[in-house]
């Protein structure tokens, strides 16, 4: 949601406890960067006026805060549990839509296939989907409390596990928050290596979406081809750092070790990969039976996307460009040239896939520039990080969209608060709005086109 001054609601994060007083941090995206507005509640107070009536995207944030902090937003439209388990007292599933012949399908939490656990409560007369309620609580792991036992140095390992398929992005967002707090400036080599890993992670994630979409359409060869390309990317990452998900590379202050492949080895492998992916993507985008399933499926209205401030490829498919890499460039991104690429604004599953192909292409262009620049930098990997007491917030662009970390640390470097906010959380709140005119068999396409990870939603 953007208001008159061009501010966008980015997050609502709680801090403290009821006895000493809870502080609600509203985080706004502004043209100058992220702005944190603290709203302290008096000790013992648990009520505050709900933001949701004015800012619809606060809907999930306030439900999560209610679960974890017990604060009650007065005037909230539906304060159901979101991240804590519902109490199963044997009552029938709640119904939102009334009428004859309607029934409720609880889809999950154990899904039909290898998926992350999440429950979609689908209300349907048989084919149409008038209402979907997303209940992601099954995977709540209590990570925000777990961060409280960590330091500005060790916390990065847990950040990598908040959303495992975007490990690099989460490690980066955490590290940037620490660097903003402590004033550490990563050396040039580290800034380039960070972009190298972040873009490889983006390629792997976008290929994963292609695999899932092709699988939903039953295109066995396409599934095999994109699965093969994704495996090649993960193997390339493991050849660079020893880990298939780029874990252990990004640390506050820089990176931990040199990329293990020489530019002369890396670039040809990327060229080959790009060529193969482009050829298969071209074939996929020429397969009529596949495209028919995506066109006009899971549509999102551009006005609604702007109202909710949708992030990443989901937002960009509605013409909403909130790419942190170019809005507020970090690490080596200011050095890199990029085209803005074709504008997509159809807002359907097709546009979301097209955005991902555009981004994939762009990632290969960025990687080429990074590999050219790498040899000319000094060998220094890491700047010293001297703990400073204070609070800081930072954001980077994950494959799913903007990942944001708010941290508060003491002078010894202990984290007294660390709150990650993934793009998956922000975007999944509008998932249930996308079913206008779609039927049950469209469900897997719409789900895959969002490309979210449930681990990052409930943490």
């Amino acid at each position: 949601m953007t208001d008159l001054t061009g501010r966008r609601f980015a997050a609502l994060i709680g801090d403290g406890d009821t006895t000493s007083g809870i502080t609600l941090h509203t985080i706004w995206g502004t043209p100058l960067g992220l702005e944190v507005v603290a709203m302290p509640l008096a000790p013992g107070t648990t009520h505050y006026p709900s933001l949701t009536p004015d800012i619809p995207s606060a809907f999930w944030y306030e439900r999560a805060l209610h679960d974890l902090y017990g604060v009650i937003p007065d005037g909230h439209p539906r304060l159901d549990p979101l991240v804590l388990p519902h109490i199963d007292n044997g009552t029938p599933l709640p119904r939102r839509v009334m009428g004859t012949g309607l029934f409720t399908i609880p889809h999950g939490p154990v899904r039909s296939g290898v998926f992350e656990s999440v429950e979609y409560v689908v209300e349907t007369p048989g084919e149409d989907i008038p209402h979907v309620n997303v209940r992601p609580f099954a995977k709540h792991r209590g990570l925000e409390v777990r961060f409280g036992a960590m330091t500005v140095h060790s916390g990065v390992m847990l950040a990598e596990r908040v959303e495992g398929i975007a490990s690099v992005a989460h490690a980066l967002a955490f590290s940037h928050a620490v660097e903003r707090l402590t004033g550490a400036e990563p050396p040039p080599r580290a800034q380039l290596a960070r972009v190298l890993h972040a873009e490889l992670e983006r390629i792997a994630n976008h290929l994963d979406v292609a695999v899932k979409l092709a699988d939903a359409a039953g295109l066995a060869v396409a599934v095999a081809r994109f699965g093969y390309h994704k495996e090649r990317v993960l193997r390339l990452v493991s050849a660079l750092c020893g880990n298939r998900f780029g874990r252990g590379v990004v640390v506050p202050g820089g990176i931990r070790s040199q990329p293990r492949l020489a530019p002369g080895v890396l670039q040809p492998r990327l060229d080959e990969l790009r060529h193969d992916i482009q050829a298969d993507a071209g074939a996929l985008m020429g397969t009529a039976s596949f495209l028919d399933r995506l066109r006009a499926t899971g549509p999102l209205d551009p006005d609604e996307a702007a109202l909710y401030g949708l992030l990443g490829p989901v937002g960009r498919a509605c013409g909403l460009d909130l790419d942190t890499r170019w809005r507020h460039p970090y690490d080596a991104y200011p050095l890199l040239k990029h085209d803005s690429g074709p504008q997509r604004d159809a807002g359907d599953a097709m546009a979301r896939l097209q955005v991902r192909w555009d981004e994939l292409d762009q990632s290969f262009d960025l990687l080429r520039q990074v590999i050219e620049l790498l040899p000319d930098t000094e060998d220094t990997l890491r700047a010293p990080v001297e703990p400073v007491a204070g609070i800081a917030v930072a954001a980077v662009e994950a494959p799913q969209g903007e990942v944001l970390y708010l941290i508060r640390a003491d002078a010894e470097g202990h984290l007294s608060r660390c709150a990650p906010r993934s793009a998956s959380f922000h975007n999944l709140a509008v998932f249930s709005h996308t079913f206008a005119g779609d039927i049950l068999t469209d469900f897997p396409f719409i789900e895959a086109s969002f490309g979210v990870s449930i681990a990052g939603v409930v943490m």
């Binding site: 039909s112 656990s117 995977k139 709540h140 880990n243």
Partner: protein, 255 residues
């Protein structure tokens, strides 16, 4: 039609593992640390590990519980004279204590009994086995590695290993994640809905011990207290080869 030729484009991509060794299975990933043989205990070594997996005991040897190892490499970086990366994908064990390296003496008899019992139970599953995956609070990366088993590089169908959508058709439950309270009931219902004989695999360090997520108010710190685990696979996440090794171990197809 064009997809048919596209599928033939790169020839056979599939590994010959386990019949032939695969270099990526042996040396591709650094996922677990181990103490070097003969490494001696000294105070302070336990502080290197973020999950407390490093311990020392009276016999003055350093022990590392790989069931708690998240592969961060902190110990290997700080003390290369004492710790090293473990190579290879033969990382899973049929007993939880077997994940401690070097092994604790006196566990051989119990191990032999476990192996024999598991072998007896899985006799009928050796040629064809159906797996039901359940996510009990993973970070999402384990699911990627499980799905990778179906890509043409690993192609586990060639070994008679299939994934099934229903627990009613499953022989193996492959459980990932630290065992969140929200998944305790669905996991129990899945277990109940699965026919016997049944093998349960705890896939990943989170499933074995909770990993970095433990201790947590929202999880059981591993799935061991929720379901009877037969095979323990460490790794955060375990690589596809490590998962494949676990499945073959569970069905008695490895010596």
């Amino acid at each position: 039609m064009p997809w048919i030729f596209r599928g033939l484009r790169d020839g056979v991509l599939t590994t010959r593992y386990p019949r032939r060794p695969d270099p990526y299975a042996d040396d591709g990933v650094e996922s677990l640390a181990r103490p070097l043989p003969g490494a001696e205990w000294e105070p302070g070594l336990d502080g290197l590990c973020p999950t407390g997996a490093i311990t020392g005991d009276a016999d003055s040897m350093v022990r590392l519980d790989q069931g708690g190892c998240v592969g961060c490499g902190a110990c290997v970086l700080a003390r290369p004279d004492t710790f090293a990366w473990q190579h290879g994908s033969r990382q899973s064990r049929v007993d939880r204590a077997g994940l401690i390296v070097p092994e604790v003496p006196g566990t051989d008899e119990e191990l032999a009994r476990l192996r024999a019992e598991l072998g007896q139970r899985t006799k009928a599953l050796r040629r064809s086995v159906h797996i039901r995956h359940v996510d009990a609070g993973s970070d999402g990366s384990e699911e990627w590695e499980i799905l990778a088993l179906l890509n043409p590089v690993y192609d586990v169908h060639r070994l008679g290993i299939f994934f099934t959508a229903s627990p009613r058709h499953a022989d193996i439950l492959l459980v990932t994640g630290a065992g969140t309270h929200g998944m305790a009931a669905p996991l129990a219902r899945t277990l109940e809905g699965t026919p016997r004989p049944l093998v349960v695999i705890a896939a990943g360090t989170d499933a074995v011990s909770g990993g970095l997520v433990a201790p947590s108010y929202a999880t059981s710190n591993g799935i061991g207290s929720l379901v009877p685990v037969d095979v323990w696979v460490p790794g955060s996440p375990p690589s596809p080869f490590a998962l494949l090794h676990a499945i073959l171990l569970a069905t008695g197809r490895l010596r």
